[in-house]
Amino acid sequence: MAEEIDLSPAPGARGVRGDVVLEVSGLDVTFPSADGPVRAVRGVDYALHRGEVLGIVGESGSGKSVTSMAVMRLLPNTAQVKGSVRFDGRDLLTLSEVEMTRVRGSRIAMIFQDPMTSLNPVYTVGAQIAEAVRAHHDVSKQAATERAVELLDKVRIPNAKDRASSYPHELSGGMRQRVVIAIAMANDPDVIIADEPTTALDVTVQAQILEALAAAQDETGAAMVLITHDLGVIAGQADRVMVMYAGKPVEVGTAEDVFYTPRMPYTLGLLGSLPRLDRPSERLTPIPGAPPSVVNMPPGCPFGPRCPKHTARCDESEPELRVTTGPGHLAACHYAETLAGQEATDVFASEVADHEALAGLAAAAEGAGTDGEARA
């Protein structure tokens, strides 16, 4: 399976403006554990272009967060990281800690899920933004503070000047996340990595934060990696999408490719499992089973045991990402083409409860119901 793979976006894709800013290749992360090595990330490749939003989507344990932590070199020392992360002509994985510190926060900024843990509770938010500015620029305290107020204004915090002297606990969750976005914007980064930035927030606040993120991206012209489990957020924000499963990308393409013509059964299954706001209630098609343990994974396709298209061929070797409907649309499935024109309901059986047991239970309920009443 040594096919030439083109990981660049399809020509004419929305929002692609210019060159590759970040190129991840062959990224592999292994953690030691009592049960044996945990292969959290097993070969991730992507190229991020200036100004685009790459959405990484997957369920818990798919390796989407670990991938980005590895890019930022924020994993504990016990993690074994292989591969390369090219940024600005250098491989970030080979930089010294001092050099890496210069990149972090200034050239690549990161936004985490929980703003309460990314902010320091004992400093005002203004001081924290000013600190981020001064960490990478030789400016006076006053200039940094002014810049902090300006940034708070840009992320649409009302009365930015007053708010700069608030402590994190005095702000709501949405406001805190805006502060974190302001810190990320502070040094005009080339790349913003946002890891589940709205997961802890209510939907109406989520909408506001997504707007603030888009504004931050416009303002800085940065490319963004948006990590989330929410397919709706991905559909609205991402130009290109990477779907991860068991530590590997299993489908890559434009948002349109992935949502309208998925070529990996897992992606189709995810879409079929989603209850939809925009359609009247229909039966959902859950994906049977559960994701595999990434300790001692058997050979073959990791999705095989849950896949309705599964054959003996899938157990022999793990399918590589390959081109499907167009040059930028890749899927890791031997049977990708058979998904053409199929809906989730055609491929996945809508799981039915054990009807025999259910009927037995219903019957027992009737019988015992009268008993119970007699006894009472």
């Binding site: 369920e59 818990s60 009302p158 709501s172 949405g174 406001m175 209510d202 939907v203 109406t204 606040v205 989520q206 909408a207 506001q208 707007e211 489990h229 929410d230 397919l231 709706g232 957020v233 991905i234 559909a235 609205g236 948002a255 349109e256 949502f259 309208y260 995810l270 079929g272 499992s273 989603l274 209850p275 939809r276 706001l277 925009d278 009247p280 209630s281 039966r283 959902l284 098609t285 859950p286 994906i287 049977p288 559960a290 809508s350 799981e351 039915v352 409860a353 054990d354 047991a357 259910l358 009927a359 037995g360 239970l361 219903a362 027992a364 309920a365 015992a368 119901g369 008993d371 119970g372």
Partner: protein, 343 residues
């Protein structure tokens, strides 16, 4: 108020329920200096075999309402009528008998199962408490496990050996053990990944039609509620602001909050999602200890901010809008309610 559809018998009625949590001063005396108005005058009915979805954002009082309904929290005032009895006024002994018929499934399947009991004991516990285990309890536990999609031979395992989705199924089996009439489901799928969540939702669908259960389904997720509920009540800051059948509410939401909520939920469809009209609310939830006068939503209301004249606004500030039918096809608590198609 939200009432059941014609032809459905009412199972449970909630009337003007109020729940305040006292705020006390520091020091020795701990005098009451205020109250968090978690639930303010909430009324609804649940019909037999019907699902009522109670939806709203964090802090709107939906979970508190659910707990008051089950008498797990005492109501400050109001009535919860079940089989002609007011649950808020009956004694512990009587309530214990009724608990068989009113069961709950909690959100967090990690915290709600005893880590020291094997699963068959977790499911058997309600039967033992009510003295029903000796009468074929073992068999019933096996059947319950089978029904919710677990292997009965795994009954000797402990909760930590199961995945999140399986644990939630254990919670459901436990709730079903006493053959309840009403299940209160408090965010039952919020902790689960989507591919797992779908299986639990389908299971709930099937259990309902087979066992003729009624559900009070509490959730922050409108997509999930649309999927499972027959009728929906939208809560904001302790009150129901709009209610109707699921179909009706999504076809023509008339309260500005419901509209904002629907338009804020991202659709997993790139073209639709990017072309959508957005109605955004401003600011954050006011404190329920000191809610705004008049309409509680007015401080964040896009209509109040952008569309109303000063004279119209005065009414929002002074007069709390009642939850009544205002010619929009379903009850809505906004003086200036207006249906809008958003999907």
């Amino acid at each position: 108020m939200t009432t059941v559809e014609q032809g459905t018998r009412t199972l449970l009625s909630v009337r003007n329920v109020v729940k305040h949590f006292p705020i006390r001063s520091k020091g020795l005396i701990r005098r009451q200096i205020g109250a968090v108005q978690a639930v303010s005058d909430v009324s609804f009915d649940i019909g037999e075999g019907e699902t009522l979805g109670l939806v709203g954002e964090s802090g709107c009082g939906k979970s508190t309402t659910a707990r008051v309904v089950l008498n797990l929290l005492p109501a400050t005032s109001g009535e919860v009528l079940y089989k002609g009895q007011d649950l808020t006024k009956i004694g512990r002994g009587e309530m214990r008998g009724l608990r068989r018929e009113l069961q709950i499934v909690f959100q967090d399947p990690y915290a709600s199962l005893d880590p020291r009991l094997p699963v068959n004991e977790i499911i058997a516990e309600p039967l033992r408490i009510h003295g029903l285990y000796s009468d074929g309890g073992r068999d019933r536990v096996r059947r319950l496990m089978q029904t919710v999609g677990l292997k009965p031979e795994h009954g000797n395992r402990y909760a930590h050996e199961f995945s999140g989705g399986q644990r939630q199924r254990i919670g459901i089996a436990r709730a079903l053990a006493l053959r309840p009439k009403l299940l209160v489901l408090d965010e039952p799928v919020s902790a689960l990944d989507v591919s797992i969540q779908a299986g639990v939702l389908n299971l709930l669908d099937e259990l309902q039609s087979e066992l003729d259960l009624s559900y009070l389904f509490v959730s922050h997720d409108l997509s999930v509620v649309r999927h499972i509920a027959d009728r929906i009540a939208v809560m904001y800051l302790g009150s129901i602001v709009e209610t109707g059948t699921a179909e009706e509410l999504f076809a023509g939401p008339a309260h500005p909050y419901t509209q904002a909520l629907i338009s804020a939920i991202p659709l997993p469809d790139p073209r639709k999602e990017r072309a959508r009209e957005r109605i955004t609310v401003v600011g954050d939830l006011p404190s329920p200890a000191n809610p705004p006068s008049g309409c509680r939503f007015r401080t964040r209301c896009p209509k109040f901010a952008n569309e109303l004249s000063d004279a119209e606004r005065t009414r929002c500030v002074e007069e709390p809008p009642a939850l009544v039918e205002r010619g929009q096809g379903h009850p809505v608590s906004c003086h200036y309610a207006e249906r809008r198609a958003l999907l």
